[in-house]
Symmetry: C2
Subunit: 381 residues, 2 copies
Amino acid sequence: MSMRKPLIMLPGPTNVPDRVMRALARPIISHRGKEFEALYESIVENAKYVYQTENDVFPLTASGTGGIECAVSNVVDKGDKVLVPVYGDFSRRIKEKISVYGGIPIEIPIEWGNVPTADQIKETLQRESDIKAVFLVYNETSTGATVRELPEISRVAKEHGALVIVDAISILGGDKLPVDEWKIDICVTGSQKCLACPPGAALVSVSSDAWKKIEGKTVRSFYFDLLRARRFRERRQTPFTPAIPVFFALDEALKMIREEGLEQRFRRHAVCASAFYAAAEALGLEVFPAKEWRSNTVIAIKKPEGISVGDIRKVMENRYGVMVAGGMGKVKEQIIRIGCMGIVSQREVLTTVFALENTLKDLGVKIETGAGVEAAKKAFS
Amino acid sequence: MSMRKPLIMLPGPTNVPDRVMRALARPIISHRGKEFEALYESIVENAKYVYQTENDVFPLTASGTGGIECAVSNVVDKGDKVLVPVYGDFSRRIKEKISVYGGIPIEIPIEWGNVPTADQIKETLQRESDIKAVFLVYNETSTGATVRELPEISRVAKEHGALVIVDAISILGGDKLPVDEWKIDICVTGSQKCLACPPGAALVSVSSDAWKKIEGKTVRSFYFDLLRARRFRERRQTPFTPAIPVFFALDEALKMIREEGLEQRFRRHAVCASAFYAAAEALGLEVFPAKEWRSNTVIAIKKPEGISVGDIRKVMENRYGVMVAGGMGKVKEQIIRIGCMGIVSQREVLTTVFALENTLKDLGVKIETGAGVEAAKKAFS
């Protein structure tokens, strides 16, 4: 066994650049002092750039799931009808959270690997009057499918007077998501995915329409209360002690995104994803989501017959030093998922394809040697 | 201005040893792999040592306030009568949280600087039948007062069939708190206080009586759901992506407590606190809490007449490189608070007393030069 750390190609946490890792170990500062205020301001300003928004953005000390809980607890009132298409494990969780907070989830069940379309959302909004909000997972981490019609869905929802709440945890910073242009009312992400930062922080943007709803309802959480966060924002502080080391790292990670530029960053993710898909096809592997919904940040591939997801993961990690994930929920044993996020580049993609190709060979799957790597290379040329 | 970082003598965050800071920057690992399982196990085992408990202990990705929200949301059912003495800003916040979760807070208002006694609790439990839980802030960070009758209060509460929920955020690991011996049902702490770890994680212990209540009630939070945390504990995992760097640091910080030993650690805190109190008296300063409730971990001292808390803090930090805090809530402008936590030792105490003494002199307060430092030294001899 190598003493070298494996390459992390998980759909989160992802590989973190040294510069961001070093920021973690900066000396602790007071969260009520001037240094923190500058840090807070910097995080918010750069987060707004990544979100492409003029809306308020709040950093939270919580995982991405905590960020979603923040959205649900601030927006969903007891008895509110909330539209929630379910097409994977994370959209299923959101439905559960809506129930926990007393909302009435109006579910659109969708086969895993597919995603909701604007027509489906429109039809449901017309049938079910009085829907207060639409909750969407932009990129279903559990299936590797992206809601490509998000801009149209958002337009339809806003026309019906519903708020648009987007879980962008595994995609923001890795693929197009102009929050203001697409009129997203609340957009949530986590630090440990496309932002290439360690886990421990979430970001939540809030539009003026969302504020209207929040101001008019009963507070349902103390820790996630956005009105309190807004009061403390005036002093560029968080209401409670923040995870200072993670905030330092998040600041550095956001600065790196700004230096690279969003367009270049999205292009890099798209090219890497296309290389993964080309390799999968060259190896005769089936991509899990339908072609039009394939994600640029989470690559989900069906395992070949006759071998197990566990075996693939074990050999890839132990022999080739590359960590990928299996499936979740009902497709747990059927797919492998590869994170194509953050600092991903040609180097990580080729190493991963090489590892996958050889792992399959080692496990007795008939593949053409080098076909995956060749196909991936072509995508980069 | 010095380029050297100031000494952090805040009531949290506190100074973090290098060994713990270095742990922050360890390479990121998967939270669903074997390495994390070992980390989780190690944190829980050492946390149980610090808690002196056989109860379950859960690490959370949240600040201490998030830990309290976890306790409230898991234990307080709609309409539950909950006893909550209020004697500072943190006990006031707990009252607010109980209301947010639909509980009926039965408040015992107590003058700030004082704390509830077993007699007061008993009297209220007898008058108000059907109280489901008693929430206590063991050490009121906002006033520097410790509930010294906590063991008796707990006994009285348990006799009345009420759960005992303790906020030990600014004291656990710095003063006596044998959770099992004192029959504490839920005990919450934060990483950044007496544990001498950076902020970003909370710990919550749960007794079998608390589990009975939790199992019988509706889930009120998804992120803080302890039943979910218990299911994942079986695999030594957290339900959601944890703040891995903070978990690494927490593990190291807990190991350091175990190496020092609880008894020695409590003694060290007590001696340092007595040195602070002796210095305050020698300087003619009034300690804020009543003598019998003085905390060993948060030192609250009234400012002298004629100068402001802000001036004291500014001069102490800018000229002498020592950060202390002002008051909170209604005593904001009346007291300064000094953290006596974590790695505090003779060195930090003497530096702080030296800084305070000279600051007061600089601001025109008549004091005997060296009297504070001399009195503090005596406490260590």
